[in-house]
Amino acid sequence: MIGVRRRFSPLQRLLHWLMAVCILAMLFIGVGMVSTVTPKFLPLVSIHKSLGIAILVLALIRLGVRLLYGAPPLPVDLPEPMKLAAHLSHYALYALMIGMPLIGWAMLSAAAYPVVVFGRIYLPAILPQSDSLHAWLWDAHFCLAFAFFALVLMHVAAALFHALVRRDGVFQTMASVTTQDG
């Protein structure tokens, strides 16, 4: 039964780890590309755009799967503040996974740059050209990127805290590689 799942479904675990790699790569590429003028700049920007759209698509799929399958319950003895932090951080992670690519896409649209992904796919502009919107979206993209990385670090710290200190099985709900739900 869905309500008493002890682990995330295999599809959820696959999406989680795939996206973990994508998002970490994305954040590192992002701060790396804006701090170089070497020829690496162009491929990094190109990958950043393509990976961003890939993350957007994966995040929407993941949101659908999450709504469908739900999540295993947190341990009953987990203190309320930690439960609240867990829930809020997951909302924030989903918001950023979906919001950041959209902000980036909108930012490029407002600057009237062609938005090309995977080498040849031209995406339509999702905003009209606008200096003020561009400036606002750029600030948002920049600040939220650091917030996103901070949130990822907190997420990792919390996962390790569950795995190493509390040993309460929360880590295994996502870390387990077995296909059985248990």
Binding site: P39, L42, Y113, Y122, S130, W138, V165, R166
Partner: protein, 348 residues
């Protein structure tokens, strides 16, 4: 909760190390531990004149005048690139004549290098953006060299430029041009050159390393900087507005194909004069547009925006320029209040 089998302190320390190390690697990637790394920010900051940047304006080529027109492709370019822009036809152009200065109010006679940015749009939704200058070669071989040139030009040390030139012998060709080639009295008389090389890919997938130029139809009339100064600080934009109002102005686009061994990675070195070149079409400037109120203000003439059938080559500049132009764009769009679109839009 099960009892921990090892001291929690060790586990907490491990968590702190994982988080701390991740944050450190992130900061390193962002360049926070690398003050010597040439970043777009450092490059763009080095462009600023002593009094500070012209807020709201491009950080280089800050002074200019916008236009619209068309590119009439004759079809000959299709031999070199499958880009739609070379298929016979007329494609709309947005462009901007400019002066290579970071000061939006620099008098025309104080700026040696003239530039041209264009954006050609094709029906397939793709764009070709290019930013060219009238010098036949670029002053330096590498982006790092360009940064050093900016530092030397701004330096108060007596020997800064001398030392720079000694360290950058490639500067001589540009220096010779700057010193000895007559100035022109109109943007319409300038030949504009890509200088950077790019790769064109034809329909068979073959690659051609090329540079391109726009050759003016108007005959050049030379003028001394002193005489140009007498005509007024903004003469060039007034003159081109008047000239285009009288008749459209034309340039022939010529693509030059490199031979093996040519210095494709170094825009400070001209290719031998006998390289094959192909006339691919005509740029017609039909109408001068308002600068502050016009369509160029919020366009980045990023030379790395290329249609399918063109890509960057081993020349390191388009990537560096793209990074720096983007930084400039990000800065100036956030400063729009310092360079507002005015209600009248009378200044051409």
């Amino acid at each position: 909760m099960p009892q921990p089998r090892r001291p929690a302190l060790g586990s907490l320390a491990l968590i702190a190390i994982v988080v701390g190390a991740s944050a450190a690697v992130f900061a390193y990637t962002a360049g926070w531990f690398s003050p010597e790394r040439l970043t777009p920010t450092r490059l763009v900051d080095a462009l600023a004149p002593p009094a500070g940047p012209s807020l709201g304006h491009r950080r280089n080529h800050a002074k200019g005048i916008c236009f619209t027109g068309e590119f009439d492709a004759n079809g000959a370019g299709s031999e070199l690139s499958k880009a739609q822009v070379f298929a016979p036809g007329q494609y709309p152009v947005l462009g901007r004549f400019n002066l290579a200065t970071a000061d939006a109010n620099a008098p025309d006679a104080t700026v040696r290098v003239h530039g041209l940015g264009i954006r050609i749009a094709t029906p397939d939704g793709q764009e070709w953006r290019s930013a060219m200058i009238d010098a036949p070669v670029f002053p330096v071989s590498t982006p790092q060299g360009f940064y050093e040139l900016l530092l030397a030009s701004a330096s108060k040390e007596a020997n800064a430029m001398k030392n720079f030139i000694a360290a950058h012998p490639e500067f001589a060709a540009f220096g010779d041009w700057a010193k000895n080639t007559p100035w022109t009295d109109s943007y319409a008389e300038d030949r504009f050159n890509s200088l950077d090389s790019f790769i064109f890919i034809d329909n068979a997938g073959a690659e051609h390393v090329v540079r391109w130029s726009l050759l003016p139809a108007a005959q050049p009339v030379s003028i001394s900087p002193d005489d140009l100064a007498k005509r007024g600080p903004d003469y060039l934009e007034q003159e081109i507005a008047q000239r285009v109002a009288g008749a459209p102005q034309r340039w022939t686009m010529v693509v030059t194909i490199s031979s093996p061994g040519d210095p494709t990675a170094d825009p400070s070195k001209a290719w031998p004069g006998d390289r094959r070149s192909v006339e691919v079409g005509t740029l017609t400037v039909q109408q001068i547009e308002a600068e502050a109120n016009g369509p160029c203000r919020d366009i980045n003439f990023d030379p790395a925006v290329l249609p399918t059938g063109m890509q960057t080559s081993d020349d390191p500049f388009p990537a560096a320029r793209s990074a720096a132009y983007m930084r400039s764009y990000d800065l100036r769009t956030a400063e729009a209040k310092d360079y507002p679109r005015d209600a009248t839009g009378t200044k051409p």
